[in-house]
Assembly symmetry: C2
Homo-oligomer: 77 residues x 2
């Protein structure tokens, strides 16, 4: 199985969700990307349909928005 990508921005909601997702899916199956720090990947996340973080993009390209930490506009602003 190819990896999922978990996009977050370091907010408390993000960190909590990251721990849950890593526990559920397995650390080896998910790439964690901090788009607040690695801003070059914001465009990639938006292209994948990420509208808020934390969000998980599955191997088949679906985007699951998990709880709500921050909108992409907040991350970019």
């Amino acid at each position: 199985m190819s990896k999922s990508i978990f996009y977050h921005a370091g907010c408390p909601v993000c960190v909590s969700a990251e721990q849950d997702i890593v526990n559920l899916v397995g650390a080896e199956n998910v790439e964690v990307v901090h788009i607040g720090e690695d801003r070059s990947r914001i465009a990639e996340a938006e292209k994948a349909g990420v509208k808020s973080v934390p969000a998980l993009v599955t191997p088949n390209g679906n985007t699951l928005h998990i709880n709500f930490g921050a909108s992409m506009e907040d991350v970019k602003g």
Copy 2:
């Protein structure tokens, strides 16, 4: 590992998220509950902190709201 519980109400967003979660976590690790049909479990879901569906309650009791299908008020109404 004890099971996660995926609560949904049969909406298209719910069905899509269910397929993703089952693929990611494994069908044997998640109980799927349709609270639109099994209304006796609405109270249990709310007690677990479910505010909208679809939502996943993890084995350690955290609630992950995934995308947005319907609020609990909509489900009850």
